[in-house]
Symmetry: C2
Subunit: 309 residues, 2 copies
Protein backbone atom coordinates (compact mmCIF):
# COMPACT_ATOMS: atom_id res chain seq x y z
CA UNK A 1 0.00 0.00 0.00
CA UNK A 2 1.40 3.39 -0.98
CA UNK A 3 2.48 5.60 1.91
CA UNK A 4 0.97 9.07 1.51
CA UNK A 5 3.01 12.11 2.48
CA UNK A 6 1.27 15.45 3.08
CA UNK A 7 1.37 18.80 4.84
CA UNK A 8 -1.38 20.56 6.78
CA UNK A 9 -4.83 21.63 5.66
CA UNK A 10 -4.90 24.94 3.81
CA UNK A 11 -1.42 24.12 2.56
CA UNK A 12 1.13 26.88 2.11
CA UNK A 13 4.25 26.66 -0.02
CA UNK A 14 6.36 24.94 2.65
CA UNK A 15 3.64 22.32 3.27
CA UNK A 16 3.32 21.47 -0.42
CA UNK A 17 7.00 21.45 -1.31
CA UNK A 18 8.07 19.65 1.90
CA UNK A 19 5.78 16.75 0.94
CA UNK A 20 7.61 16.61 -2.39
CA UNK A 21 11.11 16.85 -0.93
CA UNK A 22 10.38 14.30 1.80
CA UNK A 23 8.95 11.90 -0.81
CA UNK A 24 12.16 12.29 -2.82
CA UNK A 25 14.22 11.63 0.32
CA UNK A 26 12.22 8.45 0.97
CA UNK A 27 12.79 7.30 -2.61
CA UNK A 28 16.55 7.82 -2.31
CA UNK A 29 16.37 5.87 0.95
CA UNK A 30 14.82 2.98 -0.95
CA UNK A 31 11.15 3.49 0.02
CA UNK A 32 9.82 3.85 -3.50
CA UNK A 33 6.14 3.26 -2.75
CA UNK A 34 5.41 6.79 -1.52
CA UNK A 35 3.34 9.63 -2.97
CA UNK A 36 3.39 13.32 -2.11
CA UNK A 37 -0.20 14.54 -1.89
CA UNK A 38 -1.92 17.59 -0.38
CA UNK A 39 -4.94 18.37 1.77
CA UNK A 40 -5.93 21.25 -0.50
CA UNK A 41 -5.13 23.11 -3.69
CA UNK A 42 -2.03 25.29 -3.94
CA UNK A 43 -2.53 28.95 -3.06
CA UNK A 44 -1.52 31.67 -5.52
CA UNK A 45 2.02 31.88 -4.17
CA UNK A 46 2.53 28.13 -4.35
CA UNK A 47 1.02 27.97 -7.83
CA UNK A 48 3.53 30.61 -8.95
CA UNK A 49 6.32 28.41 -7.57
CA UNK A 50 5.03 25.24 -9.21
CA UNK A 51 4.65 27.01 -12.55
CA UNK A 52 8.13 28.53 -12.24
CA UNK A 53 9.77 25.14 -11.71
CA UNK A 54 7.36 23.36 -14.11
CA UNK A 55 5.96 20.90 -11.57
CA UNK A 56 2.38 19.63 -11.34
CA UNK A 57 0.46 20.30 -8.15
CA UNK A 58 0.20 17.24 -5.88
CA UNK A 59 -3.06 15.29 -6.00
CA UNK A 60 -5.57 16.55 -3.42
CA UNK A 61 -6.84 13.90 -0.99
CA UNK A 62 -9.90 14.44 1.18
CA UNK A 63 -9.85 11.19 3.10
CA UNK A 64 -7.62 8.16 3.50
CA UNK A 65 -8.91 4.62 4.15
CA UNK A 66 -8.63 3.44 7.75
CA UNK A 67 -5.35 1.67 8.49
CA UNK A 68 -3.42 3.51 5.80
CA UNK A 69 0.20 4.49 6.37
CA UNK A 70 1.09 8.18 6.22
CA UNK A 71 3.95 10.58 6.84
CA UNK A 72 3.18 14.11 8.02
CA UNK A 73 5.27 17.10 7.03
CA UNK A 74 5.04 20.68 8.33
CA UNK A 75 2.44 19.85 10.98
CA UNK A 76 1.59 17.39 13.72
CA UNK A 77 -1.56 18.68 15.44
CA UNK A 78 -4.38 16.34 14.50
CA UNK A 79 -6.94 19.12 13.98
CA UNK A 80 -4.67 20.50 11.23
CA UNK A 81 -4.33 17.14 9.50
CA UNK A 82 -6.51 14.87 7.40
CA UNK A 83 -9.90 13.98 8.84
CA UNK A 84 -9.67 10.56 10.54
CA UNK A 85 -5.90 10.81 11.20
CA UNK A 86 -6.49 8.92 14.49
CA UNK A 87 -7.26 5.76 12.49
CA UNK A 88 -4.12 5.92 10.33
CA UNK A 89 -0.61 4.71 11.09
CA UNK A 90 1.81 7.61 11.19
CA UNK A 91 5.23 6.29 10.20
CA UNK A 92 7.05 9.60 10.26
CA UNK A 93 6.73 13.29 11.03
CA UNK A 94 9.09 16.02 9.83
CA UNK A 95 8.19 19.41 11.19
CA UNK A 96 9.29 22.71 12.71
CA UNK A 97 6.26 23.54 14.89
CA UNK A 98 5.34 23.01 18.52
CA UNK A 99 4.00 19.54 19.32
CA UNK A 100 0.41 19.41 20.55
CA UNK A 101 -2.65 17.22 20.19
CA UNK A 102 -0.46 14.53 18.67
CA UNK A 103 -0.36 10.93 19.82
CA UNK A 104 0.62 7.55 18.44
CA UNK A 105 0.20 3.97 19.68
CA UNK A 106 3.63 2.84 18.48
CA UNK A 107 7.13 4.26 18.09
CA UNK A 108 7.76 6.30 14.94
CA UNK A 109 10.34 8.46 13.21
CA UNK A 110 9.94 12.05 14.35
CA UNK A 111 12.23 14.84 13.36
CA UNK A 112 11.62 18.43 14.31
CA UNK A 113 13.92 21.38 14.66
CA UNK A 114 13.18 24.92 15.79
CA UNK A 115 14.20 26.41 12.45
CA UNK A 116 12.60 28.42 9.68
CA UNK A 117 10.91 25.83 7.52
CA UNK A 118 10.25 22.14 7.22
CA UNK A 119 12.32 22.20 4.05
CA UNK A 120 15.28 23.42 6.13
CA UNK A 121 14.93 20.32 8.32
CA UNK A 122 14.66 18.11 5.24
CA UNK A 123 17.71 19.80 3.70
CA UNK A 124 19.67 18.95 6.88
CA UNK A 125 18.57 15.32 6.55
CA UNK A 126 19.58 15.15 2.87
CA UNK A 127 23.02 16.42 3.85
CA UNK A 128 23.37 13.95 6.73
CA UNK A 129 22.78 11.16 4.22
CA UNK A 130 24.89 12.74 1.46
CA UNK A 131 21.88 12.43 -0.87
CA UNK A 132 21.66 14.55 -3.99
CA UNK A 133 19.21 17.44 -4.41
CA UNK A 134 18.30 18.15 -8.04
CA UNK A 135 18.10 21.72 -9.36
CA UNK A 136 14.31 21.52 -9.58
CA UNK A 137 13.93 20.09 -6.07
CA UNK A 138 16.36 22.67 -4.66
CA UNK A 139 14.15 25.40 -6.15
CA UNK A 140 11.03 23.94 -4.55
CA UNK A 141 12.77 23.61 -1.20
CA UNK A 142 14.11 27.16 -1.40
CA UNK A 143 10.58 28.37 -2.12
CA UNK A 144 9.28 26.66 1.04
CA UNK A 145 12.00 28.33 3.09
CA UNK A 146 11.40 31.75 1.47
CA UNK A 147 7.66 31.49 2.06
CA UNK A 148 7.88 30.55 5.72
CA UNK A 149 10.57 33.09 6.62
CA UNK A 150 9.47 35.94 4.31
CA UNK A 151 12.82 35.76 2.58
CA UNK A 152 14.68 35.35 5.92
CA UNK A 153 13.09 38.49 7.42
CA UNK A 154 10.97 36.59 9.95
CA UNK A 155 12.37 36.01 13.46
CA UNK A 156 11.85 32.31 12.75
CA UNK A 157 14.80 32.44 10.35
CA UNK A 158 17.81 30.97 12.16
CA UNK A 159 21.52 31.17 11.29
CA UNK A 160 21.15 27.67 9.85
CA UNK A 161 18.38 28.86 7.47
CA UNK A 162 20.66 31.68 6.36
CA UNK A 163 23.29 29.10 5.44
CA UNK A 164 20.86 26.74 3.72
CA UNK A 165 18.91 29.16 1.54
CA UNK A 166 21.82 30.48 -0.55
CA UNK A 167 23.05 26.91 -1.05
CA UNK A 168 19.65 25.80 -2.34
CA UNK A 169 19.37 28.89 -4.54
CA UNK A 170 22.76 28.12 -6.05
CA UNK A 171 21.78 24.53 -6.88
CA UNK A 172 18.47 25.79 -8.28
CA UNK A 173 20.16 28.53 -10.31
CA UNK A 174 17.83 31.29 -9.09
CA UNK A 175 18.49 34.86 -8.01
CA UNK A 176 17.23 34.81 -4.43
CA UNK A 177 16.03 38.40 -4.04
CA UNK A 178 14.39 38.52 -7.44
CA UNK A 179 12.68 35.14 -7.31
CA UNK A 180 11.83 35.51 -3.61
CA UNK A 181 10.07 38.85 -3.94
CA UNK A 182 8.25 37.71 -7.08
CA UNK A 183 6.84 34.61 -5.41
CA UNK A 184 5.85 36.45 -2.22
CA UNK A 185 4.11 39.17 -4.24
CA UNK A 186 2.28 36.51 -6.26
CA UNK A 187 0.66 35.50 -2.98
CA UNK A 188 -0.60 38.99 -2.19
CA UNK A 189 -2.96 39.56 -5.10
CA UNK A 190 -5.91 40.03 -2.78
CA UNK A 191 -8.20 41.55 -5.41
CA UNK A 192 -8.53 38.13 -7.00
CA UNK A 193 -9.46 36.38 -3.73
CA UNK A 194 -12.84 36.04 -2.04
CA UNK A 195 -13.36 37.06 1.59
CA UNK A 196 -13.72 33.42 2.56
CA UNK A 197 -10.50 32.53 0.80
CA UNK A 198 -8.60 35.31 2.55
CA UNK A 199 -9.77 34.40 6.06
CA UNK A 200 -9.41 30.69 5.48
CA UNK A 201 -6.60 30.33 2.97
CA UNK A 202 -3.88 29.98 5.59
CA UNK A 203 -5.96 29.48 8.75
CA UNK A 204 -5.08 26.92 11.41
CA UNK A 205 -7.00 25.72 14.45
CA UNK A 206 -5.54 25.54 17.94
CA UNK A 207 -6.75 24.34 21.30
CA UNK A 208 -5.82 26.92 23.93
CA UNK A 209 -6.85 26.05 27.49
CA UNK A 210 -9.93 24.31 26.14
CA UNK A 211 -10.90 27.15 23.81
CA UNK A 212 -11.16 26.51 20.09
CA UNK A 213 -9.01 29.21 18.53
CA UNK A 214 -8.79 29.80 14.79
CA UNK A 215 -5.94 31.98 13.52
CA UNK A 216 -5.73 33.07 9.90
CA UNK A 217 -2.92 35.02 8.33
CA UNK A 218 -2.83 36.92 5.07
CA UNK A 219 0.20 38.55 3.47
CA UNK A 220 -0.09 41.89 1.71
CA UNK A 221 2.06 44.65 0.33
CA UNK A 222 -0.66 47.23 1.18
CA UNK A 223 -2.61 47.07 4.44
CA UNK A 224 -5.16 49.60 3.07
CA UNK A 225 -6.41 46.87 0.78
CA UNK A 226 -7.28 44.86 3.89
CA UNK A 227 -8.82 47.81 5.76
CA UNK A 228 -11.11 48.49 2.78
CA UNK A 229 -12.49 44.95 3.15
CA UNK A 230 -12.42 44.71 6.93
CA UNK A 231 -16.20 44.79 7.42
CA UNK A 232 -16.75 42.01 4.89
CA UNK A 233 -13.86 39.93 6.22
CA UNK A 234 -15.13 40.27 9.78
CA UNK A 235 -18.63 39.23 8.73
CA UNK A 236 -17.20 36.15 7.00
CA UNK A 237 -15.17 35.31 10.11
CA UNK A 238 -18.28 35.64 12.30
CA UNK A 239 -20.25 33.37 10.02
CA UNK A 240 -17.54 30.73 10.00
CA UNK A 241 -16.93 30.92 13.76
CA UNK A 242 -20.64 30.26 14.33
CA UNK A 243 -20.77 27.42 11.83
CA UNK A 244 -17.59 25.70 13.07
CA UNK A 245 -17.89 26.47 16.78
CA UNK A 246 -14.71 28.55 17.09
CA UNK A 247 -14.59 30.47 20.36
CA UNK A 248 -12.20 32.96 18.79
CA UNK A 249 -11.25 33.76 15.19
CA UNK A 250 -8.23 36.02 14.81
CA UNK A 251 -7.08 37.24 11.42
CA UNK A 252 -3.57 38.63 11.10
CA UNK A 253 -2.77 40.78 8.08
CA UNK A 254 0.98 40.96 7.55
CA UNK A 255 2.70 43.72 5.58
CA UNK A 256 5.56 41.71 4.08
CA UNK A 257 7.49 44.78 2.94
CA UNK A 258 7.56 46.49 6.36
CA UNK A 259 7.39 43.37 8.56
CA UNK A 260 4.40 44.50 10.63
CA UNK A 261 0.97 43.05 11.23
CA UNK A 262 -2.51 44.16 12.20
CA UNK A 263 -5.10 41.87 13.79
CA UNK A 264 -8.93 41.69 13.73
CA UNK A 265 -11.03 39.33 15.81
CA UNK A 266 -14.49 37.93 16.34
CA UNK A 267 -15.70 35.88 19.31
CA UNK A 268 -14.28 35.91 22.83
CA UNK A 269 -10.68 36.40 23.81
CA UNK A 270 -10.13 40.14 23.36
CA UNK A 271 -8.55 40.47 26.82
CA UNK A 272 -6.21 37.58 26.17
CA UNK A 273 -5.10 39.04 22.83
CA UNK A 274 -4.44 42.44 24.37
CA UNK A 275 -2.53 40.83 27.23
CA UNK A 276 -0.57 38.61 24.86
CA UNK A 277 0.70 41.50 22.75
CA UNK A 278 0.67 44.44 25.19
CA UNK A 279 -1.48 46.39 22.71
CA UNK A 280 -5.13 47.42 22.67
CA UNK A 281 -7.79 47.20 19.98
CA UNK A 282 -8.62 50.64 18.55
CA UNK A 283 -12.03 52.06 17.62
CA UNK A 284 -11.87 50.17 14.32
CA UNK A 285 -11.43 46.83 16.12
CA UNK A 286 -7.84 46.71 14.91
CA UNK A 287 -4.85 45.81 17.03
CA UNK A 288 -1.36 46.81 15.93
CA UNK A 289 1.20 44.04 16.13
CA UNK A 290 4.45 45.85 15.36
CA UNK A 291 7.23 43.57 14.19
CA UNK A 292 4.97 40.51 14.17
CA UNK A 293 5.28 38.37 11.05
CA UNK A 294 5.36 34.83 12.44
CA UNK A 295 2.18 33.23 13.72
CA UNK A 296 4.19 30.31 15.06
CA UNK A 297 6.76 32.25 17.00
CA UNK A 298 5.13 35.60 17.72
CA UNK A 299 1.44 34.76 18.09
CA UNK A 300 0.67 31.17 19.12
CA UNK A 301 2.97 30.86 22.19
CA UNK A 302 2.01 34.30 23.53
CA UNK A 303 -1.71 33.75 23.04
CA UNK A 304 -1.53 30.22 24.47
CA UNK A 305 0.18 31.62 27.57
CA UNK A 306 -2.46 34.35 27.90
CA UNK A 307 -5.28 31.80 27.69
CA UNK A 308 -3.58 29.52 30.19
CA UNK A 309 -3.02 32.64 32.32
CA UNK B 1 20.98 28.54 33.82
CA UNK B 2 22.15 24.96 33.36
CA UNK B 3 20.01 22.84 31.07
CA UNK B 4 19.19 19.55 32.76
CA UNK B 5 19.08 16.36 30.71
CA UNK B 6 17.30 13.29 32.08
CA UNK B 7 15.48 10.08 31.25
CA UNK B 8 12.21 8.76 32.70
CA UNK B 9 11.25 8.00 36.27
CA UNK B 10 12.43 4.60 37.52
CA UNK B 11 15.37 4.97 35.17
CA UNK B 12 16.76 1.91 33.42
CA UNK B 13 20.22 1.65 31.89
CA UNK B 14 19.24 3.29 28.59
CA UNK B 15 17.60 6.22 30.40
CA UNK B 16 20.65 6.86 32.59
CA UNK B 17 23.31 6.43 29.92
CA UNK B 18 21.36 8.29 27.20
CA UNK B 19 21.30 11.35 29.46
CA UNK B 20 25.08 11.09 29.66
CA UNK B 21 25.65 10.55 25.94
CA UNK B 22 23.22 13.35 24.95
CA UNK B 23 24.97 15.71 27.39
CA UNK B 24 28.28 14.83 25.76
CA UNK B 25 26.77 15.47 22.32
CA UNK B 26 25.56 18.87 23.48
CA UNK B 27 29.01 19.72 24.82
CA UNK B 28 30.63 18.81 21.51
CA UNK B 29 28.00 20.97 19.82
CA UNK B 30 29.13 23.91 21.96
CA UNK B 31 26.36 23.86 24.58
CA UNK B 32 28.61 23.43 27.58
CA UNK B 33 26.13 24.46 30.27
CA UNK B 34 24.31 21.12 30.46
CA UNK B 35 24.15 18.45 33.15
CA UNK B 36 23.04 14.83 32.89
CA UNK B 37 20.85 14.04 35.89
CA UNK B 38 18.35 11.30 36.74
CA UNK B 39 14.86 11.00 38.21
CA UNK B 40 15.94 8.11 40.40
CA UNK B 41 18.86 5.98 41.54
CA UNK B 42 20.44 3.44 39.19
CA UNK B 43 19.00 -0.07 39.37
CA UNK B 44 21.31 -3.04 39.99
CA UNK B 45 21.97 -3.56 36.28
CA UNK B 46 22.82 0.11 35.71
CA UNK B 47 25.01 0.20 38.83
CA UNK B 48 26.96 -2.75 37.44
CA UNK B 49 27.49 -0.80 34.21
CA UNK B 50 28.56 2.40 35.98
CA UNK B 51 30.99 0.46 38.16
CA UNK B 52 32.36 -1.41 35.16
CA UNK B 53 33.13 1.81 33.29
CA UNK B 54 34.12 3.68 36.48
CA UNK B 55 31.53 6.44 36.17
CA UNK B 56 29.61 8.12 39.00
CA UNK B 57 25.83 7.85 38.97
CA UNK B 58 24.13 11.06 37.82
CA UNK B 59 22.77 13.34 40.52
CA UNK B 60 19.13 12.54 41.36
CA UNK B 61 16.73 15.47 41.00
CA UNK B 62 13.25 15.41 42.50
CA UNK B 63 11.99 18.74 41.24
CA UNK B 64 13.15 21.55 38.95
CA UNK B 65 12.32 25.23 39.48
CA UNK B 66 9.54 26.59 37.26
CA UNK B 67 10.82 28.02 33.97
CA UNK B 68 13.90 25.81 33.87
CA UNK B 69 15.18 24.47 30.57
CA UNK B 70 15.35 20.72 30.12
CA UNK B 71 16.04 18.05 27.53
CA UNK B 72 14.26 14.72 27.78
CA UNK B 73 15.84 11.46 26.72
CA UNK B 74 14.22 8.02 26.43
CA UNK B 75 10.72 9.29 27.21
CA UNK B 76 8.25 12.00 26.34
CA UNK B 77 5.01 11.18 28.18
CA UNK B 78 4.60 13.75 30.92
CA UNK B 79 3.40 11.24 33.53
CA UNK B 80 6.76 9.44 33.13
CA UNK B 81 8.76 12.64 33.54
CA UNK B 82 9.67 15.00 36.34
CA UNK B 83 6.78 16.36 38.40
CA UNK B 84 5.86 19.83 37.11
CA UNK B 85 7.22 19.20 33.60
CA UNK B 86 4.34 21.34 32.24
CA UNK B 87 5.98 24.45 33.73
CA UNK B 88 9.42 23.80 32.24
CA UNK B 89 10.74 24.65 28.79
CA UNK B 90 11.57 21.50 26.86
CA UNK B 91 14.35 22.37 24.40
CA UNK B 92 14.87 18.89 23.01
CA UNK B 93 13.63 15.32 23.12
CA UNK B 94 15.58 12.28 21.93
CA UNK B 95 13.58 9.11 22.19
CA UNK B 96 12.50 5.81 20.67
CA UNK B 97 8.98 5.46 22.12
CA UNK B 98 5.48 6.31 20.95
CA UNK B 99 4.49 9.94 21.47
CA UNK B 100 1.61 10.55 23.85
CA UNK B 101 0.55 13.05 26.49
CA UNK B 102 3.29 15.38 25.28
CA UNK B 103 2.77 19.00 24.37
CA UNK B 104 4.83 22.18 24.06
CA UNK B 105 3.96 25.83 23.53
CA UNK B 106 6.87 26.50 21.19
CA UNK B 107 8.87 24.66 18.52
CA UNK B 108 11.63 22.38 19.77
CA UNK B 109 14.20 19.85 18.63
CA UNK B 110 12.62 16.40 18.58
CA UNK B 111 14.34 13.31 17.33
CA UNK B 112 12.80 9.88 17.58
CA UNK B 113 13.38 6.71 15.63
CA UNK B 114 11.65 3.37 15.88
CA UNK B 115 14.83 1.57 16.85
CA UNK B 116 16.13 -0.43 19.79
CA UNK B 117 17.37 2.20 22.20
CA UNK B 118 17.70 5.91 22.70
CA UNK B 119 21.45 5.43 22.63
CA UNK B 120 21.08 4.02 19.09
CA UNK B 121 19.40 7.27 18.04
CA UNK B 122 22.12 9.30 19.76
CA UNK B 123 24.81 7.19 18.08
CA UNK B 124 23.22 8.01 14.70
CA UNK B 125 23.34 11.72 15.58
CA UNK B 126 27.00 11.54 16.65
CA UNK B 127 27.81 9.96 13.29
CA UNK B 128 25.83 12.56 11.33
CA UNK B 129 27.98 15.23 12.98
CA UNK B 130 31.23 13.24 12.75
CA UNK B 131 31.66 13.74 16.51
CA UNK B 132 33.96 11.47 18.47
CA UNK B 133 32.73 8.86 20.95
CA UNK B 134 35.26 8.03 23.68
CA UNK B 135 35.85 4.42 24.76
CA UNK B 136 34.12 5.04 28.07
CA UNK B 137 31.10 6.71 26.45
CA UNK B 138 30.85 3.97 23.82
CA UNK B 139 30.69 1.43 26.65
CA UNK B 140 27.88 3.31 28.37
CA UNK B 141 25.97 3.65 25.09
CA UNK B 142 26.44 -0.03 24.27
CA UNK B 143 25.09 -0.88 27.73
CA UNK B 144 21.93 1.15 27.05
CA UNK B 145 21.41 -0.68 23.78
CA UNK B 146 22.09 -4.10 25.35
CA UNK B 147 19.68 -3.39 28.20
CA UNK B 148 16.80 -2.25 26.01
CA UNK B 149 17.15 -5.02 23.43
CA UNK B 150 18.22 -7.85 25.75
CA UNK B 151 21.45 -8.15 23.81
CA UNK B 152 19.62 -7.75 20.46
CA UNK B 153 17.16 -10.59 21.21
CA UNK B 154 14.14 -8.30 21.55
CA UNK B 155 11.97 -7.66 18.46
CA UNK B 156 12.69 -3.98 19.04
CA UNK B 157 16.25 -4.59 17.84
CA UNK B 158 16.45 -3.37 14.23
CA UNK B 159 19.09 -4.04 11.57
CA UNK B 160 20.50 -0.62 12.45
CA UNK B 161 20.94 -1.64 16.10
CA UNK B 162 22.76 -4.75 14.93
CA UNK B 163 25.20 -2.54 13.03
CA UNK B 164 25.66 -0.04 15.84
CA UNK B 165 26.20 -2.36 18.80
CA UNK B 166 29.36 -4.13 17.51
CA UNK B 167 30.81 -0.75 16.51
CA UNK B 168 30.26 0.65 20.01
CA UNK B 169 31.62 -2.53 21.58
CA UNK B 170 34.75 -2.24 19.48
CA UNK B 171 35.36 1.37 20.52
CA UNK B 172 34.67 0.42 24.14
CA UNK B 173 36.97 -2.62 23.96
CA UNK B 174 34.43 -5.01 25.44
CA UNK B 175 33.43 -8.56 24.54
CA UNK B 176 29.75 -8.15 23.72
CA UNK B 177 28.38 -11.57 24.76
CA UNK B 178 30.42 -11.70 27.93
CA UNK B 179 29.79 -8.15 29.10
CA UNK B 180 26.17 -8.20 27.90
CA UNK B 181 25.16 -11.32 29.79
CA UNK B 182 27.02 -10.20 32.90
CA UNK B 183 25.22 -6.86 33.01
CA UNK B 184 21.80 -8.38 32.30
CA UNK B 185 22.31 -10.99 35.01
CA UNK B 186 23.37 -8.26 37.45
CA UNK B 187 19.86 -6.90 37.02
CA UNK B 188 18.16 -10.18 37.89
CA UNK B 189 19.34 -10.67 41.44
CA UNK B 190 15.78 -10.67 42.75
CA UNK B 191 16.67 -12.12 46.15
CA UNK B 192 18.20 -8.79 47.07
CA UNK B 193 15.16 -6.74 46.02
CA UNK B 194 12.02 -5.93 48.01
CA UNK B 195 8.54 -6.65 46.57
CA UNK B 196 7.97 -2.94 46.15
CA UNK B 197 11.21 -2.50 44.30
CA UNK B 198 10.39 -5.36 41.92
CA UNK B 199 6.91 -4.11 41.03
CA UNK B 200 8.02 -0.50 40.79
CA UNK B 201 11.65 -0.61 39.70
CA UNK B 202 10.88 -0.37 36.01
CA UNK B 203 7.17 0.53 36.07
CA UNK B 204 5.67 3.15 33.76
CA UNK B 205 2.21 4.75 33.71
CA UNK B 206 0.05 4.99 30.61
CA UNK B 207 -3.30 6.51 29.81
CA UNK B 208 -5.32 4.03 27.76
CA UNK B 209 -8.77 5.23 26.72
CA UNK B 210 -9.05 7.22 29.93
CA UNK B 211 -7.88 4.35 32.17
CA UNK B 212 -4.79 4.78 34.30
CA UNK B 213 -2.65 1.76 33.50
CA UNK B 214 0.58 0.90 35.31
CA UNK B 215 2.87 -1.63 33.70
CA UNK B 216 5.93 -2.98 35.49
CA UNK B 217 8.51 -5.33 34.05
CA UNK B 218 11.09 -7.45 35.81
CA UNK B 219 13.84 -9.50 34.18
CA UNK B 220 14.80 -12.87 35.55
CA UNK B 221 16.78 -15.95 34.65
CA UNK B 222 14.36 -18.15 36.66
CA UNK B 223 10.60 -17.56 36.59
CA UNK B 224 10.15 -19.88 39.62
CA UNK B 225 11.75 -17.18 41.71
CA UNK B 226 8.89 -14.92 40.70
CA UNK B 227 6.18 -17.54 41.19
CA UNK B 228 7.43 -18.16 44.72
CA UNK B 229 6.80 -14.46 45.50
CA UNK B 230 3.66 -14.01 43.42
CA UNK B 231 1.27 -13.64 46.40
CA UNK B 232 3.43 -10.98 48.02
CA UNK B 233 4.04 -9.15 44.74
CA UNK B 234 0.32 -9.12 43.95
CA UNK B 235 -0.48 -7.76 47.41
CA UNK B 236 2.07 -4.98 46.92
CA UNK B 237 0.59 -4.15 43.51
CA UNK B 238 -2.93 -4.00 45.01
CA UNK B 239 -1.74 -1.67 47.75
CA UNK B 240 -0.04 0.66 45.31
CA UNK B 241 -2.93 0.63 42.82
CA UNK B 242 -5.28 1.72 45.62
CA UNK B 243 -2.89 4.41 46.86
CA UNK B 244 -2.10 5.85 43.42
CA UNK B 245 -5.50 5.34 41.76
CA UNK B 246 -4.33 2.95 39.03
CA UNK B 247 -7.24 1.22 37.31
CA UNK B 248 -4.95 -1.60 36.28
CA UNK B 249 -1.51 -2.72 37.43
CA UNK B 250 0.13 -5.33 35.21
CA UNK B 251 3.48 -6.87 36.09
CA UNK B 252 5.41 -8.66 33.38
CA UNK B 253 8.13 -11.08 34.41
CA UNK B 254 10.51 -11.71 31.53
CA UNK B 255 12.76 -14.75 31.27
CA UNK B 256 15.73 -13.16 29.51
CA UNK B 257 17.36 -16.49 28.66
CA UNK B 258 14.33 -17.98 26.90
CA UNK B 259 12.72 -14.71 25.68
CA UNK B 260 9.29 -15.39 27.21
CA UNK B 261 7.16 -13.53 29.71
CA UNK B 262 4.39 -14.20 32.21
CA UNK B 263 1.96 -11.53 33.44
CA UNK B 264 0.06 -10.95 36.70
CA UNK B 265 -2.52 -8.22 37.24
CA UNK B 266 -4.62 -6.43 39.82
CA UNK B 267 -7.54 -4.07 39.14
CA UNK B 268 -9.79 -4.05 36.08
CA UNK B 269 -8.81 -4.86 32.53
CA UNK B 270 -8.56 -8.66 32.56
CA UNK B 271 -10.70 -8.96 29.41
CA UNK B 272 -8.60 -6.38 27.60
CA UNK B 273 -5.35 -8.15 28.51
CA UNK B 274 -6.71 -11.51 27.35
CA UNK B 275 -7.95 -9.93 24.11
CA UNK B 276 -4.66 -8.10 23.55
CA UNK B 277 -2.55 -11.24 23.77
CA UNK B 278 -4.97 -13.99 22.71
CA UNK B 279 -4.21 -15.86 25.94
CA UNK B 280 -6.19 -16.47 29.13
CA UNK B 281 -5.26 -16.16 32.78
CA UNK B 282 -4.83 -19.55 34.43
CA UNK B 283 -6.00 -20.66 37.91
CA UNK B 284 -2.93 -19.02 39.42
CA UNK B 285 -3.83 -15.64 37.89
CA UNK B 286 -0.92 -15.97 35.47
CA UNK B 287 -1.07 -15.27 31.76
CA UNK B 288 1.55 -16.72 29.44
CA UNK B 289 3.02 -14.23 27.00
CA UNK B 290 5.15 -16.41 24.76
CA UNK B 291 7.84 -14.54 22.85
CA UNK B 292 7.05 -11.27 24.61
CA UNK B 293 10.08 -9.38 25.87
CA UNK B 294 9.35 -5.78 24.86
CA UNK B 295 6.79 -3.76 26.80
CA UNK B 296 7.02 -1.01 24.21
CA UNK B 297 6.49 -3.08 21.11
CA UNK B 298 4.65 -6.18 22.32
CA UNK B 299 2.52 -4.91 25.19
CA UNK B 300 1.65 -1.21 25.09
CA UNK B 301 0.29 -0.96 21.50
CA UNK B 302 -1.73 -4.18 21.82
CA UNK B 303 -3.18 -3.25 25.19
CA UNK B 304 -3.92 0.31 24.07
CA UNK B 305 -5.83 -1.08 21.07
CA UNK B 306 -7.77 -3.47 23.31
CA UNK B 307 -8.77 -0.64 25.67
CA UNK B 308 -9.77 1.58 22.78
CA UNK B 309 -11.85 -1.35 21.50
Amino acid sequence: MTTLIFGHQNPDTDAITAAMSWAEFQRQLGNTDVEAVALGKPNAETQYVLDYFKVDAPRVVESIPEGGHVMLVDHNEFQQSVVGIEKLTIDAVVDHHRIANFTTAAPLYYRAEAIGSTNSVICNIFKEHNFEISAQLAGLMAAGLISDTLLLKSPTATPRDKEILPELAKIAGINLEEFGLAMLKAGTNLGARSDKDIIDGDAKSFDMAGQSVRIGQVNTVDLDEIYARQADLTAAMQEEATAEGYDLFLLIATDILNSNSVGFMVGSGKDQIEAAFGQTFDGNNRIDLPGVVSRKKQVVPQLTAAFEG
